[in-house]
């Protein structure tokens, strides 16, 4: 570690790796409560159903977040957590590691690092109110069951969709969606 890097209170550096001490504070502020309490026991990784079939390692994510290694935000494996909360219910430090992962994903979203598959779901909700909208084949199934073609949701009352878009707008998500759609073209 260079002495120069050490003196910079905000960012310090080891080789090419940047460390940002504010990252873990942001994770905690965004819902990853007590993430700084992690003592690296690895219980989370051991019980995670993704460990054996992917590169996701919860303990490593927690370590990187605590060290302020912002590169964790670029890790595609960050998006492999199914949010099953097994790690969280088993953590001896009562850290909700899942919520720390979700907080990291929120930060990554702000930096336009969210997968387009998620942006698509947002687009569907913005347009129809539903993440998974009705289909013609399904309408027939509904009628056979004695149900109306469309459920009494925003599908029947589209006038409610504008409120959904307003929330997406004031929380800044609509802007992120539009910018990312423009970037991906």
């Amino acid at each position: 570690m260079t002495s120069e890097g050490m003196r910079d209170p905000k960012h310090y550096q080891l080789g090419k790796t940047q460390f940002d001490p504010d990252l873990i504070k942001e994770v905690e502020a965004r819902g990853g409560k007590n993430a700084q309490m992690c003592y690296q026991c690895g219980t989370c990784t051991a019980g995670c159903p993704m460990t054996q079939r992917s590169g996701l390692r919860v303990r490593t994510v927690m370590r990187k977040a605590n060290l302020g290694m912002r590169e964790v935000l670029d890790d595609p494996d960050l998006w492999l957590c199914t949010t099953c909360y097994t790690c969280s219910d088993r953590c001896p430090r009562r850290i909700i590691a899942t919520d720390a992962i979700i907080a990291l994903r929120n930060i990554a979203t702000q930096e336009h690092k969210v997968p387009m598959s998620m942006i698509k779901i947002m687009g569907s909700i913005a347009k129809t109110g539903h993440g998974v909208p009705n289909s013609e084949g399904n309408m027939k199934k509904r009628v056979l069951l004695g149900l109306p073609e469309n459920p009494p949701t925003t599908h029947t009352y589209p006038e409610y969709i504008k409120d959904i878009n307003k929330i997406l707008e004031v929380t800044g998500l609509l802007k992120i969606k539009e910018e990312m759609e423009a970037e991906s073209q």
């Binding site: 949010t83 099953c84 399904n138 949701t153």
Partner: protein, 294 residues
């Protein structure tokens, strides 16, 4: 007659309407009226939406809750994903005045204010805690004797346990008791509490990995001689049912294990016919199961 606003979510009404229909029909037998919930939307999907912005996720969930607050009705729902979104939004907003203020400042843009005046209940919670297994048992006309059921609780019903009311997330019993009340046997299987693999946006992000997890669950269920998987979440249901078709295509593994939502199993036990429960619309045929019990 206890009235609820019936929050449908997306997958039940828009992919498996039999789950919606069976919930309404079976609940009537217990004097529970699941009513049309006008203007409700996606909960919104906790994995995808929560991952993008937790505040927006809570605000959109609160929009749904506030619609029901205006009608003065508690919400009942049949999906673990919807449960995570709406139960947690309701609970967190009631418990945390700072968060409530923050979310209400978002909701002010649509002339809405969260009050904290209603409850959000999963129907399985209502069946177990309000109706009770004895009354469920009394409603049975066609006991499911000899049927081996692999129960899939689903993650967001029980976890994180500090934010739930069901107790143990490692060895819960209430769902097993509700299945046993119908005369069926709940079989134990390896990694029973494991996730189906669909959540967190993973099914839409990396479907192969989501299915690999599901494949392991299905294998373990079949090893335990299960005749059927029973769930309380349309998204787990989709993953387990349609997932079998995809697993066959991608990995060549074939299980042909029928998948039912608890309300559909309850409907069969209450003597309803398979068509009115929408069983014919499932990807994996339920015929072997019906042949065994009817």
């Amino acid at each position: 007659m206890k009235e609820y606003n019936f929050f449908l979510g997306c997958i039940a009404p828009n992919r498996y309407p039999g789950i919606e229909a069976s919930a309404v029909k079976t609940s009537r037998k217990f004097d529970i009226d699941l009513q049309d919930f006008k203007g409700a939307s996606c909960c919104p999907a906790p994995g995808a939406f929560g991952s993008m912005d937790v505040d927006a996720w809570i605000a959109l969930g609160a929009r749904n809750i506030c619609l029901s607050e205006k009608e003065g009705k508690d919400i009942a729902l049949i999906c673990n994903g919807c449960y995570k979104s709406l139960f947690e939004a309701n609970h967190r907003l009631k418990a945390n005045p700072e968060l409530k203020e923050k979310i209400n400042s978002i909701l002010a843009n649509i002339d809405t204010e969260f009050q904290g005046s209603i409850e959000v209940r999963h129907l399985i919670d209502i069946l177990y805690n309000d109706v009770g297994t004895e009354k469920v048992k009394e409603s049975v006309e066609q006991p499911l004797t000899g049927l081996n059921v692999a129960i899939h609780y689903g993650c967001h019903l029980l976890k994180p346990k500090f934010d739930r009311t069901f107790g143990s997330s490692e060895r819960p019993r209430f769902f097993d008791e509700l299945v046993e009340a119908l005369g069926a046997t709940s079989v134990d299987y390896k990694e029973k509490m494991m996730c189906c693999g669909a959540g967190g946006g993973v099914r839409s992000y990396k479907v192969d990995l989501a299915l690999d997890m599901c494949n392991e669950k299905l294998y373990n269920m079949v090893q335990a001689n299960a005749d059927v998987v029973v769930n309380v979440c349309p998204f787990c249901h989709l993953q387990l049912d349609r997932g079998q078709v995809e697993i066959k295509e991608k990995f060549g593994d074939v299980y042909d294990l029928p998948v039912l939502h608890y309300n559909q199993l309850l409907g069969i036990a209450q003597g309803m016919n398979p068509e009115e429960l929408g069983l014919d619309a499932h990807e994996i045929s339920v015929e072997p199961l019906l042949a065994k019990i009817l």
